[in-house]
Every structure is written in structure tokens, then in C-alpha cells.
Amino acid sequence: MTEERIREMAEERRAVAERLRFFDAEIWLGRPEGFPLAEELAPGAVQDVLAKRFVTGGLVSHWRGKTVSPQAGNEALSLALASTSHKPCAACGSVTGTSGASEASGDVPVIDALFAVWTGLPLFPAEAGPVPGGVEPPSCARAVRIFPKSHNLPLADWCVGSLCDWLVQRNMPLFVWHTEIDWPALYELARRFLELRIVVETQTQKILYHMRPLFALMRDCPNILVETSNFAGAGFIEYAVREFGAERLVFGSFVPVNDPLVPIGMLIDADVSERDKKLIAGDNLRRLIDEVRQ
């Protein structure tokens, strides 16, 4: 095997990755929990890390939203995003039109925009601090994540329905780790709130053990989307695109715990059309963010 051929294969992949302009639903700040070898991503390093992995921007979350409290996570996230060198939140504006539009300057591509995923709680009982329903979220907050198991709240209409209504009013998606839910409860919630886009996240353990309920859920609930950081079984992307359409997948990396090259590689090589690859790589997420009503 020639080294020249290896270089050529690498260059082919690099070219495709740059063309697809990945927009990442799973960028994480703060100290990771449950991954002893993972290192924290410093806010100042976000742009460099993402750019080296072909990611042009995306949604940023903070571990404290799970490990400490939603309020602590939202506060830390606001501070961290304010300190990064990306475009200020207030100036983010529309990102749908950026696909393929912005150019790299020098070796490091420009980060289009970083937005925030706030951590949420039920609106009743009302809780103090920066949480949905308590104060109006900053303009860069374009999604809300809940941790039903960690924060001891049943994923049921009578408990989280008020938050779901709040999200529907803003056309804001709900994110949830698959490890934080029971599948029947998520099914009921998705059927109850048909206008609520729910993004099922594939971390922090293998989601492949749950592909049977996940695919059945996707079949019955068009408002269910899946992020791809650990959507890693052979043929999962092709199967999902064939059965449900590329619009149902959003690119996620789970950086810095995971390497963005994992979902990037899977998408580059997937046996789906170029249009579908672009949707999954970033356009689906850009559209979700753009459609949020401020």
C-alpha cells in the first residue's frame, strides 16, 4: 500500500468534509461526567478545535446543566459563549443562507455562528434563576435540553407539558439524551405535542442497543429527529434516510468527549445523495435554529 495512495484518500475525504460544511448540534463545554479520559474544552479553544474538524458552528451545551443544575449550566454557558471569539450571539441572525457561502481565511475556516442549548425544567413549580419560563432566554439560545432521569422529572405531559407548550410557542426544539428517557414515555410525549420537534441524542452510551424502539418511534412520530454522533452502526444512516428521509437526522459530534471525525466519516462515506448529505451535515440544524421565534 503506497503512502501516496493514503495521502490521496485523506485528501478526498478532506475535500468532501470541507464541502459539506458541518454544523454541529453537540458541542460541549465544562467538565465531562462519566468519561475519565476526556478533557474539558476551553471556551477559547472552541473555534480552533471545530475548524480543524471541518465544523463551521453549531449548538453549544454546558455539562453543568446536568451535573450541577440547569441554572448553573445556563449561567456558565452564557459566560463561556460571551468569551469566545465567534460572532456575538445578538448578531448571529440567520444561518440558513451560510451553507457553502462563507470562505476560509488562511488555514482556519471562519466559524459561522455558535448558539446555545439551554437546560430546562418544568415550568411548574416555578424555579428561580435562568431557566425557561423564569427569565427570557438570551437570543443565542435556540434549543432546550431536559434531563428527566438526572433531575427527577417524569417525561409526561402533566409534568413537562408546560415546558413543551413554552417551546412550541417559540418553535424551539427539545433535546434529550436517550439515556435520560423511557421509550414509551417519549413516544407518548411526541404524539401529544405534534408541533414540538424533539431531537433524540445518541449519547452518552451506545444507542445501537435501542435501535428497535428508536426506528419505530421515528416511523410513528414525524416530529422526532436524531443526532448522529453515536448513530454509528453499519448502515444506520442509509436505513434512516431510506425509511424516514434525510430531514430527520442532524449532525452532532459530542466534542470534546468524542471526535467529530466519527460522524463526519460516516456521512462522507454513506451511500446517500449529496443533497441528503448536506441536509444531515448542517442544513437541517441550521433550519431548526432559523425557525426559532425570538
Binding site: 453515536n230 436505513y239 471526535d259 463526519i264
Partner: protein, 263 residues
């Protein structure tokens, strides 16, 4: 320009049972290998992990032959059934495509250091065959994994220095990886593959910096994982291209004694 000889040194065949896998058959595997330009593979037929018997390696041999010599296979040693395992391994020793032994302490419920693995190591030494094992870190949510932490294999590794021994999954995502790295440095016969969802950020760069390059093997764990994930990580890793060539091809050729002519 010649096509690359990429070897996926750790994958599986057959429906996994515990999850839905869209691609499980050899034809699907070959199609994916072709798309990714993977020339050869080393597989374990999942049936043999659960049911070792005299005939269990007939199907993988057929797959090898039908694949034109591209999908090589391992025979399983189940320490709970040593006689049946040795009969199966002995019968296949001279078969085309048979390249080594697979053990899986977590699946078989027998800790890696247990005496019951002794016949497998002896057979490997006498037959000049490598052993590939599942290895992982201790896990809070998957307690069986503690049976396969790398340091548990150490007494066998020391006793059989001539047996090429691959720590599959490189000790996993947790502290088991430190042990895998230590052993790959300490013992000339210990290798690591990074098959599976060891999707840690900059893993390839970390491994190349901490383990001799000739000790690292590319693997995917198909159909559990898509081979393009790990292949892309190697191809785009910030490591010398000579290291990529070793990882993708040469090290597997050496460990599994796959004929260079195959590539």
C-alpha cells in the same frame, strides 16, 4: 496507482440479536468494504461466540472462500467448554482463511486471568496463532466488563511471550486504556486494536504518541459500528503517513500472518 491494502482487523458476522443491524451478512460487508476500499477483514462469526461445536467454523470458511479470500476468520475458545473449543480450533488449524483465536471473558463470564484459558494459550503457542480478546475498562453500567480489563490477561501474556496477543478495543474508553497502553509498551507480544466505539477525541494521535506504531491495528467492530468512522479517523489523523500505513495494513499482516499476496 495501486489500490490500498486496508485490513479491518476486528469485525463480526451475523445478526447481533441485542440490537437491530441493517447489515449483517457477508455480501453486505463486502459491498461496504468495496466502497471504503478495505481489501481484507478478520471476522468472528457471532454464532461461534455463543455455541462452539465441531462444525461451527464451516460457515466462516465458506464466507472466506466465497469472498475470494478477503474475509478471514477466527475460532472461538470458550473456557466453559474447553474440549469442544480445542476440537473446533484443531480441526480448522490448517483451513484456508483461519488466522487465530478469539476470547471474550465478559461474554463467557470467566475472568481473563482464569486458569481455564490455559489451553487456548498453549494451543496458540504450539500453532503459532494470535489471540484476539475483547478488552474494556471497568464499567458502572456494564459490570461484566470488569472481567476483561487488560491487566487481567498479564499472567498469560508473561507465560506465553511467543503468542501475539491483541487487546481488542484497546481497553475501552476508561482507565483500561492506560493499562492497554502500558502492556503494549511493556510486552513485545501485546498489540491493541481500536475497534468499537472508542470514539474519544484524537484517539489515533494519542495512541501513536504513546504506543509503538507497529502495535496498533485498525478495526471497526462491524456491524456494531460503521467502518468508515475509524477509517476516516486514521486517514485524517495528525500522524505521519507511515504510521497510517502500519495501522491500516502492515500490522495486521504481521499479527494475523495474512499473506502479503492477498493484498
Amino acid at each position: 496507482m495501486s489500490e490500498p491494502c486496508i485490513i479491518d482487523a476486528h469485525l463480526h458476522l451475523g445478526p447481533p440479536g441485542v440490537f437491530f443491524a441493517p447489515e449483517t451478512e457477508s455480501a453486505q460487508l463486502l459491498a461496504r468494504m468495496d466502497r471504503l476500499r478495505i481489501r481484507c477483514a478478520v471476522c468472528t462469526d457471532d454464532v461461534t461466540l455463543f455455541d462452539v461445536n465441531d462444525d461451527c467454523l464451516i460457515r466462516p470458511r465458506q464466507v472466506f472462500e466465497q469472498s475470494g479470500g478477503r474475509i478471514h476468520y477466527l475460532g472461538v475458545f470458550d473456557p466453559r467448554r474447553p474440549e469442544a473449543s480445542l476440537r473446533s480450533l484443531g480441526g480448522a488449524k490448517e483451513w484456508p482463511g483461519f488466522v487465530g483465536i478469539k476470547i471474550h471473558p465478559s461474554m463467557h463470564g470467566v475472568p481473563a486471568e482464569d486458569e481455564r484459558y490455559e489451553p487456548a494459550w498453549r494451543f496458540a503457542a504450539e500453532s503459532d496463532l494470535p489471540i484476539l480478546t475483547h478488552s474494556w475498562s471497568a464499567s458502572g453500567y456494564n459490570p461484566e466488563q470488569h472481567l476483561s480489563t487488560p491487566e487481567r490477561f498479564e499472567r498469560h501474556v508473561r507465560k506465553y511471550p511467543g503468542v501475539r496477543f491483541v487487546l481488542g478495543h484497546a481497553g475501552g474508553r476508561g482507565t483500561g486504556r492506560h493499562e492497554a497502553v502500558r502492556m503494549a509498551n511493556e510486552y513485545p507480544n501485546v498489540y491493541v486494536d481500536f475497534a468499537g466505539d472508542i470514539f474519544c477525541y484524537r484517539l489515533i494521535e494519542t495512541l501513536v504518541a504513546s504506543v509503538p506504531t507497529e502495535k496498533i491495528l485498525f478495526g471497526s467492530d462491524f456491524p456494531w459500528l460503521d467502518p468508515s468512522a475509524n477509517l476516516t479517523r486514521v486517514l485524517l489523523a495528525d500522524v505521519p503517513v507511515s504510521a497510517k500505513r502500519s495501522i491500516l495494513c502492515e500490522n495486521a499482516l504481521h499479527v494475523y500472518r495474512i499473506g502479503a499476496a492477498t493484498c
